[in-house]
């Protein structure tokens, strides 16, 4: 009961915050203008993937970080210690409730904005060729973006708990998150890079339900090794300032076969494990702190 009570209290406080209200309005407007602007030009899968860019890449990750910064920072900590943590509630219960409230708030804003837009794009008649949008693909897309947002909330939560100063935590996380995403993107590691993940979404959205993932080959394939070598070479070239190796001419995006090895379990593990680890670290650090 204490965890639910604190979650409810934190949710109400977040719902009343100007940051959440402004974000909801801004996200709704951005989604509306993006949809309207590309209504007659983009296929459904590409348009839906485009709508995810603000959440996965820029700028909403900044808002998510600000929201995710844990409540056990700065001047709020004294009030929390006196008001809530001096009551018969464990620190783990409190932190989990605070984290859950932030996660629910972020996902509520994301889903409130994205789901109506996706429904509209899917079912409205538009002057573009119909593509093979699948329900499975849409659900996976919503799921993986939610997973990335969960990771961001958890990282912000952890940074706030570790660094104690909300502003410092936000700056540090911003300075780490974006460059890290770029580096991971260089290796096309959609399991870890939201930028690569976003590029994979049009493929995902057209992927029908299948169980082929479980039949994955045990060892590395030759094409994977070749791809890895090419990506490493490209990354080293970028770092050393040398010329980027010429790429072979490729077909259109959906014909190239990119991201056909997209694996939901890999994504879940790639984002889920760091999120759980960040939350665990927050609990560990906070349970050893003097208030």
């Amino acid at each position: 009961m204490p965890t639910l009570a604190i979650t409810g209290h934190e949710l109400r406080a977040l719902a009343k915050s100007w940051l959440v209200r402004l974000w909801l309005i801004a996200a709704a407007l951005a989604t509306f203008f993006t949809t309207a602007g590309n209504w007659t030009t983009m296929e459904s899968a590409v348009l839906i993937a485009t709508l995810q860019i603000p959440f996965l890449v820029f700028p909403w990750f900044l808002v998510v970080i600000m929201l995710g910064i844990s409540p056990v920072t700065g001047v709020r900590l004294d009030a929390l210690a006196d008001g809530i943590l001096s009551r018969p509630v464990t620190r783990h219960e409190f932190l989990l409730a605070a984290w859950l409230a932030r996660l629910v708030t972020v996902l509520a804003v994301y889903l409130c904005v994205s789901v109506p837009a996706i429904l509209l794009i899917t079912y409205a008649r538009r002057p573009v060729p119909a593509d093979d949008l699948s329900l499975y693909g849409v659900l996976v897309t919503l799921g993986v973006v939610s997973l990335v947002l969960m990771l961001l909330v958890s990282l912000a939560f952890c940074a706030g708990t570790l660094l104690r100063q909300p502003l410092l935590a936000a700056v540090v996380l911003m300075l780490i998150w974006f460059p890290l995403s770029l580096v991971l993107h260089t290796f096309s590691l959609e399991e870890f890079s939201p930028i690569s993940l976003n590029q994979a979404l049009p493929t995902v959205l057209q992927t029908p339900w299948r169980t082929a993932d479980v039949a994955a080959e045990p060892g590395p394939r030759a094409e994977d090794l070749e791809s890895l070598a090419r990506q490493t070479s490209q990354f080293l070239s970028i770092l050393s300032g040398g010329a980027t190796p010429a790429r072979e001419p490729q077909g259109s995006f959906l014909e190239r076969g990119d991201y056909d090895d997209f694996s939901v379990p890999h994504i879940v593990l790639g984002y889920g494990i760091p999120a759980v680890a960040a939350l665990g670290l927050s609990l560990l650090v906070f349970s050893r702190r003097d208030l």
Partner: protein, 340 residues
């Protein structure tokens, strides 16, 4: 059922390996006592309370509340304690009933009982008229009263109130002290304060903390017994020069030391060898013989204050002797020898 509500043994808290906030503090608070934790600002009272609540972890030693060991995850301890912090802060966007309802849920109080108790408590602390106001609009006195209600909500067996009268106007202060007096006998109450008159009025036990260490713990009767009853004061009315001359004449008769305060209060200290009644009779004879009139006579400026100041003075006077040379092993050996 334990007869000790709160027990600490060699409780020590050192911040960052540098600042010693609580120093080897050993304390027993009997069940049902109204215990005044007295000490100057920065003596370690609040740190001791936070150690009891599990908000901080002790560097050494341990503490128990109602038989439960204190610690970060010790919810049983916090269930037994109703805590009122100094200048309590609240979620300002809530109204008092909403706040108490939230705390009741956190304290696992069942729904019906929670709402009934919240309403009763708001009435008891005279906040019924403010139930429609947001807490952010409350005055200091109203906040303290809400904090008092919050501390009582889950019907705790121990109340710990940290400087509950700080920043209150006289009426609010009186209200708070009356409320504490009302709780006496129903629960164990710990009142941390540096205001001696509060202790004097409502506490039956007192612990004096100085520089993080408990330098005295006992009943109010014991603390007053410790007071050297070798001084009294006479409030006089008359020419200032006469009062000062009187103060100068008295020591000449031997065994007396005098001082004048505010040009009208003559303080007389009696040396060990003098008989108190005889010394007092002699002083009164001198007063009667002079052209000043006696307005009142009393034994010092409040017994508790004198005792408290005396305790602090004694503690400082001990100097290096305050260090306990006996290691536990030696002490145990000595105890064994005595036992044999």
């Amino acid at each position: 059922m334990t007869d000790v509500a709160i027990r600490t043994e060699h409780l020590t808290k050192v911040y960052g390996g540098r600042v010693i906030a609580v120093n080897d503090l050993t304390l027993d608070v009997p069940v049902g006592a109204v215990y005044g934790l007295l000490g100057p600002n920065g003596a370690g009272k609040t740190t001791t309370i936070r150690l009891l609540l599990g908000l901080q972890r002790p560097t050494a030693g341990w503490a128990e509340v109602m038989g439960h060991r204190c610690g970060v995850q010790a919810t049983a301890v916090r269930q037994a304690i109703g805590y009122l912090p100094t200048n309590p802060s609240f979620p300002g966007h809530l109204r008092p009933f909403e706040y108490l309802d939230l705390l009741g849920k956190i304290c696992r109080v069942p729904g019906d009982e929670r709402r009934r108790r919240a309403a009763d408590l708001l009435r008891a602390v005279e906040l019924l008229g403010a139930t429609n106001q947001r807490i952010s609009t409350f005055s200091t006195g109203m906040r303290t009263r809400l904090g008092i209600a919050a501390s009582l909500l889950h019907n705790p067996t121990v109340l710990i109130w940290d400087e509950p009268t700080a920043g209150l106007d006289p009426a609010a202060r009186r209200f708070t002290l009356d409320l504490i007096a009302d709780q006496a006998g129903k629960r164990t109450v710990i009142l941390a304060t540096h205001i001696l008159s509060d202790i004097d009025q409502i506490c039956d036990h007192v612990g004096v903390v100085h520089e993080g260490r408990m330098i005295f713990s006992g009943s109010m009767r014991e603390v007053r017994q410790r007071l050297r009853r070798d001084s009294f004061h006479l409030e006089l009315d008359g020419p200032v020069e006469t009062i000062h001359r009187l103060a100068a004449q008295l020591p000449a008769s031997g065994g007396l030391a005098t001082d004048v305060r505010d040009d009208r209060v003559l303080i007389v200290r009696i040396q060990d060898e003098r008989n108190r009644a005889g010394a007092l009779a002699e002083v009164l004879q001198h007063v009667a013989a002079s052209d000043v009139s006696l307005r009142s006579i009393g034994a010092g400026q409040g017994d508790t204050e004198s005792a408290y100041l005396q305790l602090l003075q004694e503690d400082r006077a001990y100097g290096f002797r305050r260090f306990d040379f006996q290691t536990p092993a030696v002490a145990d050996a000595n105890a064994g020898d005595h036992g044999a």
